[in-house]
């Protein structure tokens, strides 16, 4: 049902990453008179999406760019087309400027980049099917690499970590959301004060929770080394965890190490435990699982070990009555989700950051659409996380707060775990205020948020 106020085209061989394209789509979609704007790589999913809303999409492949715009009038369609070209020019300029290095042409592979740029590490966030090549380039060039990409096959992870061992470098990831190395926050990284705590984390949001709580307590971090959620599995055998622990042990700036993970494979846990025993730096371990400390408790133990006082963790609560309907957890962070589930012991939890929700689309910390949609249908007690920092949504409360208000007006009780610092680009306090004013109880400790949410349910039953 393509109409004359539809523009549908496929541009062969034009590539932009999904986040950039999402921003272009959003910019076009907010223009007056524009009903639908899909600017995306022509994956099966995206082509299907466009066809579902009635666009007549020609044959296209995943390496082609799909543009599908629908406007109320030809004039508005033309305006959207002009804006599209302006956005693409902008994207092209950003790509060419290449972040300030003096090269005439942006390199096309990490291998080529490593030859012209004196790097200390590489950060790979291509789609998961293609992350291996870039990461291998980095390792072969003698660089440690953080692989932000998810959906990287297990055997590729093992191959990379084996090669990294030969080269004496560290592979962080795949699916490593957060790291802080040499003063730089990589991926979803909070703005943290420098300090004595080194973190090794098989969990991105777990590392963010721990480091943000440490920051609230006035204790900074030396480095945060992510290792990827699968590193402590039997297959990967903790290869990167062991390297990261030993590297932090040798780092003069690190006085204490916090090791964070979802429950590891038992035989791997044993290997890690033995390695920890051999370190000269004290290690506080936070392994999520039944009978284990939660992340907040682990932070408190670390503070004790450093001889620092444990503060009262900030919260902004609203009076909330118990609900008879159940608990519903809508998370963007996998570890935070797992922790909340363990603590609450009840309810339906969804991790929107899981691979199955992120194939071919941005992470929920950047693109809240799926979570907002779930929130609009939720009832009872709703527990969610809001994660701040670099690369995350520049103002998550702007879109969440109205949805929270609607949910509260619908009769739901909303509880939010807010992970961030005041130095973060979004500003923790402002975000907390906005969510609080919308009717949510807000906690900087996910464990506290989960307990509060569970108490609202338990008292009802």
């Amino acid at each position: 049902m393509t109409t004359n106020t539809d523009q549908v085209e496929v541009r062969a061989g034009v590539y932009h990453d999904s986040v950039s394209l999402m921003r272009v789509s959003q910019a076009l979609g907010s223009l007056p008179g524009v009903g639908v704007a899909i600017v995306a790589m022509a994956t099966e999913l995206n082509v299907g999406l466009a066809r579902d809303v009635g666009f007549d999409v020609p044959a296209a492949g995943p390496t082609d760019l799909l543009v599908a715009i629908r406007a109320d009038s030809a004039q508005e369609l033309a305006a959207a087309g002009a804006e599209l070209e302006r956005q693409f020019t902008e994207l092209g300029r950003a790509a060419r400027s290449g972040g300030g290095a003096a090269t005439e042409h942006a390199p096309r592979t990490t291998r080529a980049a490593a030859k012209v740029f004196d790097a200390t590490l590489a950060l790979v966030s291509t789609p998961g099917d293609h992350a291996f090549a870039e990461a291998m380039d980095a390792v072969e060039a003698g660089l440690s690499v953080m692989i932000f990409s998810d959906n990287v096959p297990l055997e590729q992870e093992i191959a990379l970590k084996e090669r990294a061992a030969e080269r004496g470098v560290l592979v962080m990831g795949p699916d490593c959301g957060t790291a802080v190395v040499g003063g730089a926050g990589l991926g979803f990284a909070n703005v943290l004060q420098p300090g004595p705590v080194g973190v090794v984390a098989a969990s991105g949001t777990g590392a963010q929770q721990v480091t943000c709580l440490l920051d609230h307590a006035g204790a900074g971090v030396s480095h945060v080394l992510g290792v990827g959620g699968r590193d402590l599995s039997a297959a990967v055998g903790g290869r990167s965890t062991l390297v990261a622990l030993r590297a932090l042990d040798a780092d003069p700036a690190t006085e204490l190490i916090v090791l964070i993970s979802k429950p590891p494979a038992p035989e791997v846990a044993e290997v890690v435990r033995r390695a920890v025993d051999e370190l000269s730096t004290p290690v506080v371990t936070a392994l999520l699982g039944p009978g284990q400390d939660d992340l907040t408790t682990a932070v408190e133990k670390a503070l004790h070990a450093l001889g620092r006082p444990v503060p009262r963790w900030p919260s902004w609560t609203v009076p909330q009555e118990p609900r008879t309907a159940g608990l519903c957890g809508l998370y963007s962070g996998g570890t935070l989700c797992a922790e909340a589930k363990l603590i609450a012991g009840t309810g339906e939890f969804t991790d929107f950051g899981d691979d199955e929700y992120t194939r071919g689309r941005p992470h929920p910390m950047i693109d809240p659409a799926m979570r907002l949609e779930a929130l609009s249908r939720a009832s009872g007690v709703v527990l969610l996380d809001v994660v701040l920092g670099h690369a995350a949504d520049p103002d998550p409360a702007a879109r969440l707060a109205p949805a929270v208000r609607e949910a509260v007006e619908r009769g739901a009780a909303v509880v939010a775990a807010l992970v961030g610092t005041d130095a973060d680009p979004q500003g923790m306090r402002g975000q907390a205020e906005a969510l609080h004013q919308a009717g949510a109880s807000v906690f900087v400790s996910n464990a506290a948020a989960a307990r509060h949410a569970a108490s609202l349910v338990r008292r009802a039953s």
Binding site: Y15, D17, V19, S20, G61, P62, T63, L91, A94, A95, G98, G99, G100, A101, T103, H105, A106, P107, R108, T109, T110, A112, A113, K115, V116, F117, A119, T120, L121, A122, L123, V124, S125, T126, P127, D129, H130, A133, E134, L143, S144, S149, Q156, R163, G168, V169, V181, G182, G183, A184, L186, G187, H223, V243, A247, L248, D251, P362, A391, P425
Partner: protein
């Protein structure tokens, strides 16, 4: 253990999502963003497999190391029958194997010319009947340590440059350059073509052979290195290399044959491309040194027969991976135009295989307009070839790029990953047999040849 990244301020290479690079910009962390794009369609699974091959990195280092350490020297000029063991009625040709049925116009023209030259037929019609009936055995030059420009037809009576690799001990052969205009390599076979071939067999070859015997071998590696710094790229421009070669060999020619010296020198001097064939044999001997390294994804031959463009890869033995040869984009002689052009033809892509020709365009500002474009296009072409090659040639340097070595050693994985195809400078043959040269320009190899080689590597 220590990790160097923990001891210094972060400097980050980013590949992928722009948001993560922007976050580094906001933190004032120095970084370089890779202009990443998805690989050639359908190659992702094979790429992952080949890149995971633990042999690959070392194998490629070995292969490209052999290619760049090769020391080609011109050691002789001898008849093909003698050095290649070519029996009568066996002709070699450029590119992957092809039969008469699929041969293009210029290839057919050159085969007819060779049959006339060998006295196998009295006229073109008879020669064609002989070739159609399979009366002549055809094989690829590359299967016999040889390369041939354009149609690349070699018959037993033709004389060949013999080039020896002083470092690795190999030898390679290429026919002698016939000059410009109506010539066999462009598919012309008229009486003047056959007449010139006779003279080359009777005078040019023996005189050059005698001169070389007097002067001793000519160091082609050093000569090519100098020519690059004098504005040649050694494929479409060989003026400096030819001049250097003449300077080196002229006294010996005079000493060896006072009778024919002026004739021979006038012929060699009158043809700016005379060196090309010696350079091609140098490229062949260097590329052959890099063959048969298990696990290597480096290209050791690119060649065209006027119908197919084929490549061979070090880790894949003598197998050819082909796609249709494209029609070059370039400038045309006289009244000729694109409608007269044959698809890409010749083994001269051995120069690009070894890091010269289109790969060294930035060294040859004098020809950039001839092959379409300006100086900045030439620099862009060379720079983009660093994206798909394994090394920079230690001896072949480009003054205008700060004496950076030419990009050498095409890696099929890098071609697949970037979609960047080798830049090839080439002559353009007329598509009708007997026409000769109609122009010169640039051509891109078919991407599917690289994808097919990658798939074969994945199956190894």
């Amino acid at each position: 253990m220590t990790l160097s990244m923990l001891q210094s301020e972060a400097r980050v290479i980013t590949a992928g999502t722009a948001v993560l690079a922007e976050a580094l910009t906001r933190q004032a962390v120095p970084h370089l963003a890779v202009d990443w794009r998805p690989p050639l369609a359908g190659t992702a699974p094979a790429l992952a497999k080949v890149l995971a091959d633990p042999r690959r990195e070392q194998a490629n280092a070995t292969a490209v190391g052999r290619m760049t350490s090769s020391r080609p020297r011109l050691t002789g000029v001898r008849p093909a029958a003698e050095v290649l063991g070519l029996p009568p009625r066996t002709f070699l040709h450029a590119g992957p194997p092809i039969d008469w049925e699929r041969a293009s116009g210029p290839m057919r023209g050159a085969l007819i010319g060779a049959a006339l030259f060998e006295g196998l037929a009295a006229d073109a019609a008879e020669a064609e009947r002989l070739l159609v009936s399979g009366g002549v055995t055809l094989d690829s030059c590359h299967h016999h340590r040889a390369v041939g420009p354009m149609a690349g037809v070699v018959s037993p009576s033709m004389w060949m440059f013999e080039v020896t690799d002083e470092e690795h001990g190999g030898t390679a052969y290429c026919s002698l350059n016939e000059g410009l205009g109506k010539v066999l390599r462009y598919g012309a076979y008229g009486p003047e073509v056959v007449e010139r071939l006779r003279w080359m067999g009777e005078v040019l070859g023996p005189v050059l052979a005698a001169a070389l015997a007097l002067s001793g071998p000519v160091d082609l590696r050093s000569l090519i290195a100098q020519a690059l710094q004098m504005g040649d790229e050694l494929h479409n421009r060989n003026r400096a290399a030819t001049s250097l070669f003449v300077r080196e060999i002229a006294p010996a020619i005079v000493d060896a044959s006072p009778r024919y010296a002026s004739e021979v020198l006038r012929f060699v001097n009158g043809n700016d491309h005379f060196f090309l064939n010696a350079g091609m044999a140098a490229g062949k001997v260097s590329a052959d040194a890099a063959r048969d390294v298990p696990g290597s994804s480096m290209v050791v031959a690119m060649a065209r027969n006027g119908t197919d463009f084929g490549i061979q890869v070090s880790g894949l033995g003598d197998r050819w991976f082909t796609g249709p040869a494209g029609v070059p984009d370039g400038l045309y002689l006289g009244a000729y135009g694109p409608q007269d052009a044959n698809p890409d033809i010749g083994d001269s892509t051995i120069t690009e295989t070894g890091g010269l020709g289109g790969f060294a365009m930035a060294a040859a500002p004098a020809i950039v307009r001839f092959v379409g474009g300006d100086v900045s296009d030439a620099i862009t072409a060379t720079r983009s070839m660093y994206e798909i090659t394994l090394a920079e040639h230690p001896a072949y340097q480009i003054p205008g790029l700060g004496f950076r070595g030419t990009p050498t050693g095409i890696d099929v994985t890098l071609v697949a990953r970037t979609g960047v195809l080798p830049v090839v400078n080439t002559g353009i043959a007329g598509r009708v047999a007997g026409t000769g040269q109609v122009g010169a320009g640039l051509v891109s190899p078919p991407a599917e040849a690289f994808a097919a080689a990658l798939a074969a590597l994945a199956d190894e």
